[in-house]
Amino acid sequence: MIGLTILATGAIVVLISVVLWLSFTEGTPGDPALTYSLAHYRSIFLDGFTYRVLWNTVLFSGATLVTSFVLALPIAWLVERTDFPGKPIVFTLMTVALLIPSFAVALGWVFLLHPKIGLINQGLMALFGLSNAPFDVSNIGSMGVIEGMNLTPLAFVMTAVVLRSMDPALEEAAAISGAKPWQAIWRITLRVLLPGLLAAAIYVATIGFAAFDVPAILGLTRRIFTFSTYVFWVLTPSEGAPEYGNVATLSVIMVGVAALLSWCYRKAQRQAPKYAVVTGKGYRPRLAPLGRWRGPALAFVALYFIVAQLLPLLMLGWASLLPYLQTPSTAALASVSLRNFVNLPRELLWRAGTNTAILMVVVPTITLTLSVAISWVVLRTRIRGRGFFDFLAFLPLAIPAIVFSVAALLLSLFVMRKFAPIYGTIWILVIVYAVARLSYGTRMTNSALIQIHRELEESAQVCGASTAGVMRRVLVPLLAPSLAYAWIWIALLTYRELTLPVVISTSNNLPFSYLVWGFVQASAYGSASAAALLMLGLMLPVLLLYWLVARRAGMIAPR
């Protein structure tokens, strides 16, 4: 366990070291004329624009967090703790939601609420004779809300795990003691769930910090920069070489932010033992009846899916049939065809699909193996400085994926080439994806492990079980539902990862998402939508399989 933890965190340290090294370089890495200076720090820290971008990002991330939790927490509570009908459907739709590319969601909102071409704006202007569009999505608040809706499935799965693990006996005890329902929620439920929720909140907020698609499509054109779009702007100049040094320096700022968030997380985690509710003394889950609230609850969940999922999917379908995006009209209908589907490069799709399939199986398996090891070392051992492992595992989340890729590219080209020639192979992607997903994996395994009291392992040890035996016969079975959740979600996150492969993909190892990203970058939204729909279609049998297996295991139709 300790060996695996050192291996995983060591990989993070190496990649971050490369980023740090880059921040002191002037010129193109690999060039003999490369020099070192503090120029990037001077230019970044003395530039007022940097602080404006960071402030924008804080606002965006805040709006994202609030929106995703306002939506995800009630849905997770309904699914996990009440007799809400159709739970498997909610789970399945949440999973499908993660497969819809963010760019499609962003574009969907452009075509609904853009001042010039938005259907809703145009309709309202025609109806009421308005001279200006009443809505505009190109502001930080709206962008954050849209990103929040995007991240709701992620927040849902993270909070659902926490809610599932909580013993309702505590709430029942509060009720028996005369507490009103809201008092029980405030004093018992929320406090018991706090570490898990905080972990999820920190995670979602950090993803908001690094989110790219929505700010790029809705904000960049209007000169509203967030951290990710600013990094992208600096890293992909059409004129001249990329400014790796500046990007690395910006990433160093993010490492600082991540360190702060990680410290907050650790503080919350120290309270964990108080909240361990899966103990050796019995665990009796019970569901709250919704009664007359069943209708409003159904309406709330349905509205979320229609607005946040169905509309973008319809948008994706519409865009896939057109040569370029058009609002529905007779002229647009005349140009509808299947050309975008027919013209997709089949051989490349097959290659990319195969690579993606390999990634979707190997990455979650490696990530979760390493995550369990890290969580166990952090939460179950008394090794000095164990908190530092957790701190390191959190960092990949905050560093822009594209910067991680640059670091991996340089390492594979100039350091590993002689003993591990992985440049241009699928293995460089496996390593970078697994390292980048460690923050997600460890948040999930931490949350799950927090809920399992030590006394179960202690009992096993008293009965003579070794550490491996405790792990195999006690922890893993108890962690199985959470691990299964995490596995499928890491697989799905791997499937839709857009920016990690940008720098390290070549024609041999490119994953499907990069193919779609290529279409998006070229504004070939029709081809991008067609490819995304095709892959969504190919993923449906996988989802069905997941649904059947998970249902049999009692994972997606809880109680």
Partner: protein, 363 residues
């Protein structure tokens, strides 16, 4: 071998003369070309990486593969994969060279701006292009001692949606863009494409250009890349001033449909080129040569460059872009020729342009 060369010569003759009447030229399968054909056949494939909007991405690769094999009698596969933008692509290819890795793309497409910094670093092969196809390739088309060859001419201007932004036809100078009635109606690129030329001392110089960009910045609706063609076509972006090439409205998918237009500014006229270069560490250099040669045939210029890319090379007498260029000159414009030599004779333009880019990012 003799039969194959003869068949190849016949196919080449057809390709060289396609798309034009009375344009028959003397055909010669030179020893250099024969060697390149034999080499390409041995290599078996060509690997190319560029963005989707270059040569139609996968569609262009398929078209080129069929044409190359037909014209040169080869059996090579053209494998396209999406790649990053010009700047980051060059950087990655250079790092591969430094590390001793084979290039992940046999060819590199860019403009003088991206090619120039790598000329002295050994990134590109020197090729005797004229010797390979003397009937089509003139010395003027070859730059940097054979390390880059022109494949298309661009006349950057304002690319606009004809229905949503008909006012663009009234914009004929840079001063017009500063008029209050156009405030918030047009976008520009984040890197201020096209404005870099103004920084040259013999054009406007740094001071005047900076002053102009400061006035231009509050006029802008926002920033968008040159690849945003479909967003302009949809009306989301009414107009892009200045587009990288101004050629998109000429593409077959938009040509004559009344969707997109290009308006060049008379006091900011530029003639820029797209170049192809073969990487020093290219694993399939001969196949790459055949790709370039195909583009230089009349068929390649018509089908790949004009129909798909929207621009051909104005060095060819019957080219569409020569016609466009002559029209521009007739309007009294004096376009600046942004060749590799011109860019290299103006050191510091990219750094000055980066400072301008900082101005436009402010709202």
């Amino acid at each position: 071998m003799t039969v194959r060369v003869a068949a190849c010569a016949l196919a080449l003759a057809t390709a060289l003369t396609a798309g034009g009447e009375a344009r028959a030229q003397s055909i010669a399968t030179t020893p250099a070309l024969a060697a390149a054909i034999a080499g390409a056949e041995q290599e078996g494939k060509l690997t190319v990486r560029w963005t989707n909007n270059i040569f139609g991405g996968p569609d262009g690769a398929k078209l080129a593969e069929a044409a190359i094999n037909r014209i040169f009698g080869t059996h090579i596969a053209v494998e396209w994969a999406p790649g990053p933008a010009y700047g980051p692509m060059a950087s990655q290819l250079y790092q591969e060279l430094q590390a001793g890795e084979p290039a992940t793309s046999d060819l590199y497409i860019a403009t003088a701006v991206q090619i120039s910094p790598y000329l002295d670093k050994g990134l590109f092969r020197t090729i005797d292009w004229v010797g390979l196809m003397p009937s089509r390739i003139a010395p003027a088309m070859v730059e940097a001692d054979g390390r880059a060859i022109r494949i298309a001419t661009n006349l950057p201007g304002i690319v606009y949606n004809i229905k949503v932004a008909p006012w663009v036809t009234e914009v004929s100078t840079t001063a017009d863009l500063l008029k209050p009635e156009y405030k918030g109606k047009f976008y520009t690129t984040p890197f201020l494409g096209g404005f870099d030329v103004l920084l040259a001392p013999e054009v406007w110089g740094v001071e005047k250009t900076t002053d102009y960009v400061k006035k231009l910045t509050p006029q802008l609706a926002g920033l968008v890349g040159c690849e945003a063609t479909t967003r302009i076509a949809s009306g989301e972006i009414p107009a892009l001033a200045i587009d990288c090439g101004g050629s998109v409205p000429n593409r077959l998918e938009y040509r004559g449909k009344g969707i997109l237009g290009n308006q060049t500014l008379s006091d900011m006229a530029e003639r820029r080129y797209n170049y192809l270069a073969i990487l020093s560490h290219a694993p399939h250099p001969n196949a790459a040569i055949l790709f370039v040669l195909y583009l230089m045939t009349a068929e390649g210029q018509e089908k790949m460059m004009w129909d798909i890319q929207g621009s051909d090379l104005d060095d060819f007498p019957q080219s569409h872009m020569r016609e466009e260029y002559e029209k521009l000159e007739a309007r009294g414009a004096k376009p600046v020729d942004v060749t590799i030599a011109w860019w290299r004779s103006h050191p510091g333009l990219d750094a000055a342009n980066a400072e301008l880019a900082k101005l436009v990012r402010e709202k």
